[in-house]
């Protein structure tokens, strides 16, 4: 994985020193909160319902055991012994003290981590496929390109004050595990008919208040020119994106208002002026970064079979383990959705366990998924059983990946000032109905339930097979029910099914939906989403509201 060079570290050190000075000035009352707030937000520090919340960037969701151990240290030393992995592949801490913040930043920077560009109207953390570099279906590791984007976008002076926040995702396979069509820019690496590697470029996707599926702005941009092309997109957005209305400021609104043809024309015209300037990284820089994502030293001839005689282990392998491109290896997903758990939360002790296991069994790499789980991407099949036992001892071996209890939930009104309703208790109550029977969960099959506590959609409710949106109804928590969303390669936006519910009502409604689906599916292998697409909303609506 990528290691900082002297320039990366110098940038982080300078920014940390700058913000430490700003924190000190605020604590000494030399600047007002109005002056300080935009500065702290640019450094990932929010003031939430109970305390300061810090969002730490995890570039493209990849981190080392050393970095995970530092995240555990942060949780233990500066927070309340846990952290929350987010749908942006980052981690948040909920109980940060400003007076300790300088020490915290120093600790983070020791392991090449920081918190800037995790908030504010800038290019946010670049996200990617959690199976990158290990997936059998990818044409290359997408992360070197995500890393180039990280370097290009870090403190980019032209794009530090965009009309609104900007999110980019990069993948390199036809299976979309990063929801690229729901990003401001989505990049899919592929080989064209001539065998040349480049990107299909989507633009203007997003969830939130105005959910839109991204459109293709360019079918193919050679890999050596994708940075200048991205710059052209950002320039058009920065020039014409609306700054007069926060609700219409995202690039998706600009693309919609201009139309994709006119937007494309403007981007191409901008790129025609940019491309000759030589803004793209030289081949040597590509080579330098790609080399840092070289395959780990796989054991050639590692046994390619797994002893599945332990039924509990077999269950976990069946559900949470995926094929690896290297014979003898597997990709293991660690569910952060245990029984009665909080989606995405991990204690410092659990983080330490995961760091140890990554170093011992997984070539020292951990991935964070946008579904709020973790991945150990390079595990020898012969090591899976021992690793699973260690995970189970730490309550990290729940075999529920992509099942009904593997629910995404934003922090909601238990933590977030923006939320209209609580998300976590909804996820917990739905999960409680199924979490005692893995066989029932497996019978239901793939079912992605996503819960957001407000219209901003951090819980990705518009991409849920079942989406739940918390709303305020005359001061009381209420919930809208949406069906039919997908963040995968078959991207679709969930639509509201009917009138909303109170807390108990939404739990019952989901129960009815699942019962109806099981009675109506054409075969046990037909997913909830496919049954919905085949039958349409009407019978589901009748099942819930009749």
């Amino acid at each position: 994985m990528y290691r900082y060079d002297q320039y990366d570290q110098a940038i982080v050190d300078a920014r940390v020193a700058e913000f430490k000075d700003q924190v000190g000035r605020r604590l000494r009352n030399e600047i007002t909160e109005d002056q300080f707030k935009p500065l702290r937000l640019m450094n990932g520090l929010y003031l939430q319902l109970h305390a300061y919340m810090l969002r730490v960037a995890i570039p493209y969701g990849t981190l080392s055991g050393t970095q995970m151990r530092m995240l555990a240290h942060i949780a233990r030393t500066y927070d309340r012994d846990y952290g929350h992995f987010t749908t942006r592949q980052n981690i948040q801490y909920n109980w940060i003290k400003l007076e300790q913040f300088s020490d915290l930043l120093d600790d983070l920077s020791k392991v090449e981590m920081h918190a800037f560009q995790t908030s504010g109207n800038c290019i946010r953390n670049i996200s990617s496929d959690q199976f990158a570099g290990a997936a059998a279906d990818e044409i290359a590791d997408p992360r070197p390109y995500a890393e180039l984007l990280r370097q290009w976008s870090t403190l980019h002076p032209e794009f530090s004050f965009l009309p609104r926040k900007f999110k980019i995702a990069v993948i390199a396979s036809d299976s979309d595990r990063a929801a690229i069509q729901l990003h401001d820019i989505g990049l899919q690496l592929y080989r064209n008919a001539d065998g040349v590697t480049g990107f299909r470029v989507y633009v203007g996707g997003g969830m939130g208040r105005t959910p839109i599926i991204g459109k293709v702005v360019r079918e193919f941009i050679p890999v050596g020119q994708f940075l200048s092309y991205s710059e052209a997109i950002l320039r058009v957005y920065n020039r014409h994106g609306r700054r007069d209305n926060i609700y219409k400021a995202r690039i998706k609104i600009l693309v919609t208002e201009l139309g994709i043809e006119e937007f494309t024309r403007q981007v191409e015209a901008e790129w025609a002026t940019l491309e000759p300037l030589g803004l793209d990284a030289p081949q040597a820089e590509y080579d330098r970064i790609i080399a840092q994502f070289a395959d780990p030293a796989y054991e050639i001839g590692a046994p390619d079979t797994i002893d599945l005689s332990d039924p509990d282990f077999k269950l976990w392998v069946d559900q949470n383990v995926h094929a690896h491109k290297q014979p003898g290896y597997a990709i293991a997903t660690i569910s952060l959705k245990p029984k009665s758990g909080i989606p995405g939360d991990a204690s410092s002790a659990q983080m330490d366990v995961i760091a140890d296991l990554a170093e011992k069994y997984a070539h020292d790499e951990i991935r964070v998924t946008h579904s709020q789980n973790l991945v150990l991407a390079h595990v020898r099949k012969v090591d899976l059983y021992a690793m699973w036992q260690a995970l189970a001892a730490a309550d990290l071996a729940t075999p529920n990946l992509d099942l009904v209890t593997d629910i995404i939930a934003c922090p909601g009104m238990d933590y977030c000032t923006l939320a209209n309703a609580r998300s976590i208790p909804i996820a917990q109550k739905i999960a409680a109905k199924f979490e005692n029977s893995i066989s029932e969960q497996r019978d239901i099959g793939e079912l992605k339930i996503k819960v957001s506590g407000c219209i901003n959609g951090c819980g990705h409710h518009h991409a849920g097979h079942i989406g739940i949106l918390g709303v305020d109804k005359k001061g009381e928590e209420a919930y809208q029910l949406l069906l039919g969303g997908s963040g995968a390669e078959d991207a679709s936006l969930a639509k509201i099914l009917g009138p909303g519910f109170d807390e108990n009502g939404i739990i019952d409604a989901v129960d009815k939906l699942i019962a109806f689906y099981r009675s109506a599916r054409s075969a046990p292998t037909e997913r909830f989403l496919d049954t919905y697409r085949r039958l349409g909303a009407a019978p589901f609506k009748e099942a819930v509201y009749a």
């Binding site: 605020r26 604590l27 003290k97 400003l98 009104m413 238990d414």
Partner: protein
Amino acid sequence: MPRILTGNRLETGDVLWWHGRCWSTQIKDAVEIGAEGEALLASLIAAERINDPTFIEVTGEPGAFVPTTTRERVRASGPSVRADLARGSLSVEAI
């Protein structure tokens, strides 16, 4: 409807309620704010040591005030999903 004064401590982010002479981390200590509140609020804003000082409406009696909004009840209780982090003077059930 009674109103009380709340905010967050600059140094720690702690949720606070005004109890007449200074600040408490327990809503049970909050006092009802009368007409003197505007001057108090203005002085707090000028002092810049409490973030987001604001009045909130409550029901009930002194010692047992309950905010009228769910958001403020969560602030007073602590996260409803972490009983171990509860503040203690407003139960999760009151949310």
